[in-house]
């Protein structure tokens, strides 16, 4: 899909607000959004959310042959999946320039800064090494994508444990997690990334910009730091002219953030560790899903119930509480039933019944009458019929179509019945 | 056997010529490079092309020569893409046929427009163009055809509007085209020249030079339309054309300005040599020196 540009007035508004120190989510210019980190039930998975940006990272390991140039070093591969689900500007199945930049930066931060000891991933020099694969999937993009992805990847790597192996003279023995506890990766340090937006030729600094803000800013600079006060990566994201003082200032901001976030990551991983060793079943990602179920139009704590097959219906109750899957229903009344409408339907159904009776058609099954919600008994019987005699389906269809023709002709003159013939016709078409 | 591998030579043979003669036409004190301040007292001057304002100072954005016109300061660069002025005659190639206009490549930074209403159709001039004409546009001028046109207008973004409302402009049929950097084309009033060797030359301001046995205005039929079929060109004229084309290439390679005098001088001085030899480095550099010397001599004589 084409990128929707930010409109001129929107851009002007955002810039004006930023210049007077205000942001639309009530943050200060140098405030970060809330970071939520969750590790999954499966080892080596993590979801990180910064505000609305959500990223999932999953780490897996495989035994592979090493490259001839580095026979005793393991391999870490990073793969990013940037789909239109995250941001409709992304291309489907192809990594655009943004995706390539993201992969390259993640590789720079995680692989090139050597935070993982790759030599410990070697099983047999020259023959077998562990190939660790980090899959980063962007679920939702609202700015600071790299920050979120980096954090998720780092947490997943911290959380991940590879199977334990022993070297036998002729083969390698890999133990499952029930035989020998899996071994965590050897991580030297944790690089944490910060995106710092810049405005007015670098005079103003906007921290952790959202997607809309980022489109209005002059440019941004990406700094990755770790707890040991080292800068792991420094990358100018977009065209911008800076001074060295501004770069140093950004680095200092990123440094303090890195120290805070490192603590968070360690906490999360340690807590999960504790839970697992206490043999408590980890919740995993279930805690991120809201305990609400969306139904048509409104969000309410309701349950979806399959068509109820009961012999003693309670008509009054049904009028209030409608099952969402009902067969052979009046399409107009689905989901919009209120007390007032029930009366309307009742009157129409009476009229139709009158017509039906006057015509006196044979084999007018109950399905021919207007299927209003109030006529519960009929519907149940119908459900019973259908459920019990599924082979009779075809016959029923035919009878229904036959019957439908007569009432249509008769009711053309009456305006009130206008709804009905259309419905019946519609039903006829549906059945056909 | 031993080989000697080196980088590019210190000064390329082409440049040796430009740097050798007394180049007093370029004032060294006025040469600027991008980012250099152009004047000492910026308040007195207005900034023109090739400059920008930085912290209140007028700074050059091009590498060229500073020119002052009263209170206007501008930087003129030597090499630049053809910009286009009203009245310039250009030799362009059609790249696209659109509704009611043709898009032509004039070696400028944007394609030029040739509207349907600005062409002289065969069989009548100045008649209103109707729907039929629109459909027949590609019959008249297809993709890849070469035309000679005059610049009627320059739009604000630099797009040129061309027209061929004259018999001397129009489709170019038989000839040789030579692409020359536009800064080598010397400004002159006449663009169409008939050489005494039985052929003609169109020096387009955009850098395309067209060598042809006959100019468009001479190939007209009775009703005013141009002759459609290709005419057989006799061999001696063809050889002359190739020689002229080689001379123009020589002038281009040695950074000698291209105008009618230089072409004729080059042609005459190349007579002792074979056409094939003209493209070899030894002959061409020797010849170029001689041509340059002769032209400078003539210039001094005129003064």
């Amino acid at each position: 899909m084409r990128v929707q540009p930010v409109t001129i007035c929107e851009k002007a508004l955002i810039l004006e607000a930023l210049r007077s120190g205000k942001r639309f989510d009530f943050r200060g210019l140098e405030e970060f959004r809330e970071v939520k980190l969750v590790v999954g039930a499966e080892i080596g998975t993590a979801i990180c959310t910064i505000g609305n940006t959500k990223v999932l990272a999953a780490v897996s390991a495989q035994i592979a042959e090493p490259s001839s140039m580095r026979p005793h070093k393991g391999v870490i591969n990073i793969d990013v999946d940037l789909s239109p689900m995250a941001n409709y500007a992304n291309e489907h199945d192809r990594l655009g320039s943004r995706g390539m930049e993201l992969i390259r930066l993640l590789e720079l931060i995680i692989r090139d800064s050597r935070c993982i000891d790759v030599e410990s991933l070697c099983i047999r020099a020259g023959k077998e090494i562990w190939k660790v694969r980090v899959d980063v999937r962007i679920l939702d993009d609202d700015g600071s994508l790299l920050d979120c992805a980096c954090l998720a990847a780092i947490t997943a790597l911290q959380h991940f444990k590879r199977p334990n192996v022993t070297l036998e003279p002729h083969h390698t023995l890999i133990y499952s997690e029930y035989e020998k506890a899996p071994v965590p990766l050897n991580i030297y340090h944790m690089p944490i990334c910060t995106t710092i937006g810049l405005l007015d030729k670098g005079q103003m600094v906007v921290i952790d910009p959202t997607d809309k803000e980022a489109a209005c800013l002059d440019g941004s600079i990406v700094v990755a730091c770790n707890k040991r006060r080292e800068v792991c990566a420094l990358h100018q994201s977009t065209n911008l002219v800076l001074s060295t003082k501004q770069i140093e200032r950004c680095v200092k901001l990123a440094m303090s953030r890195a120290e805070a976030l490192t603590a968070v990551v360690s906490d999360v991983v340690k807590q999960d560790q504790r839970e697992r060793s206490a043999f408590k079943r980890p919740d995993g990602f279930a805690i991120t899903a809201p305990a609400l179920i969306l139904t048509a139009g409104t969000v309410a704590a309701r349950k979806i119930v399959a068509p109820v097959v009961k012999n003693e219906p309670d008509v009054e109750q049904r009028a209030m509480y409608q099952p969402s899957i009902v067969l052979n229903e009046n399409p107009l009344s689905v989901g919009s039933v209120k007390q007032e409408e029930v009366d309307n339907d009742a009157s129409i159904s009476e009229q139709v019944e009158m017509i039906q009776n006057s015509v006196g058609k044979v084999e007018v099954t109950e399905t021919q009458k207007s299927s209003t919600i109030s006529n519960r008994k009929r519907e149940e019987k119908e459900v019973d019929d259908l459920l019990s005699g599924l082979d009779d389906d075809e016959e029923e269809v035919q009878t229904m179509t036959l019957g439908a023709e007569e009432p249509v002709q008769d009711v053309t003159m009456q305006e009130e019945e206008e709804e009905q013939p259309n419905l019946l016709l519609a039903k006829k078409k549906k059945k056909k | 056997m031993s080989y000697e591998i080196t980088g590019p030579p210190l000064v390329s043979p082409w440049m040796m010529l430009s740097m050798s003669e007394a180049r007093n036409d370029v004032d060294e004190s006025k040469i600027v490079i991008p980012g250099q301040s152009v004047c000492d007292a910026p308040q007195q001057f207005m900034r023109g092309h090739g400059t920008y304002i930085r912290d209140g100072e007028i700074v050059s954005s091009l590498s060229g020569v500073v020119q002052q016109l009263n209170r206007l300061l501008m930087v003129k660069t030597i090499k630049q893409r053809y910009a286009g002025e009203v009245g310039d005659v250009v030799v362009a190639r059609v790249v696209e046929v659109q509704a009611k206009r043709w898009k032509c490549d004039v070696s400028s930074r944007l394609h030029a427009n040739l509207p349907l209403g600005s062409v002289l159709l065969p069989g009548g001039d100045f008649r209103r163009k109707d729907v039929e004409d629109e459909e027949k546009m590609s019959e008249f001028l297809k993709n890849g055809e070469l035309i000679c046109a005059e610049v009627q207008q320059v739009q604000h973004d630099g797009t040129l509007m061309l027209h061929t409302r004259n018999n001397k402009y129009g489709k170019l049929r038989q000839g040789i085209t030579i692409k020359v950097p536009p800064h080598l084309i010397k400004k002159s009033k006449k663009h169409f020249h008939t050489l005494p060797y039985g052929m003609a030359v169109i020096i387009g301001c955009n850098g395309n030079v067209w060598v042809t046995p006959s100019l468009p205005e001479t190939t007209l039929e009775e009703d005013g339309s141009h002759i459609h079929e290709f005419q057989v060109v006799p061999q001696d004229i063809r050889l002359t054309m190739v020689r002229v084309a080689s001379c123009i290439r020589l002038l281009r390679d040695y950074s000698i300005s291209i105008f009618i005098n230089s072409i004729t001088t080059a042609y005459e001085m190349s007579q002792p040599y074979d056409i094939k030899e003209l493209s070899e480095q030894e002959t061409s550099s020797r010849l170029a020196y001689l041509i340059a010397a002769r032209l400078l001599q003539e210039l001094q004589q005129q003064k």
Binding site: C225, N226, L240 | P34, Q36, L62, I78, R81, H183
Partner: protein, 240 residues
Amino acid sequence: MSIISEHGFRLDGRRPAQIRNVNTRLGLNRNAEGSSYLEHGNTKVLCAVYGPYEGKASKRLEDRCAIVCQYSTTTFSGLERKNRPRGDRKSTEMSRLLEKAFESVILTESFPRSQIDIFCEVIQGDGSNLAACVNATSLALADAGIPMKGIASAATCGIVEGNPIVDLTSREETDLLPRVTLATICGRDEVVLVELHNRLHIDHLSVVMEAAKATCADVYECLAVVAQQHLKACAPILGN
């Protein structure tokens, strides 16, 4: 083998703050609008600039010029033969960095809807490849007569035991040495490109930045002289 010997000399005999010899030729490619050849010691780079011209409709921007860069290294440019001269991740990243850097240097607002193509070819890579490409491109752009804010100059600097070393060669570009490639306009404090490799401690950051800035200013002096000298050679004989 240490980077700086006990007497304070580097592997090729330079001092820590000394840059390599800069050798340039402009106007080599007759077809391109601007072209240059640059040598930083043994690092040799060719650059060609085409444009501004009317490019593809997909790349067209309504208010400014689109800049397309291609960074490619020949298969024989490094220590080991490279199978793919361009299109791999590293080259794509370098191309992007060059594009972004030159978008801030070139006055793109002067030509809307046009496109400028920049092609860089590293013939021999002996360290500071990106910096050499930036320098070569600046010269080629000056040769092509494209308006810029100034000539951008770049340099790669590292730090060893607290001492900054400038203009790194490939033997000094190891996995352990942190290095910063910095590009500034006209040697001033206007940074258009900053790229860091390996980890750098925050206390060393300002030291490296200062050293890199000073080196960029030195390189700029060399490039400025070259650009000025070339102008004389460009002018046509008997021209306007």
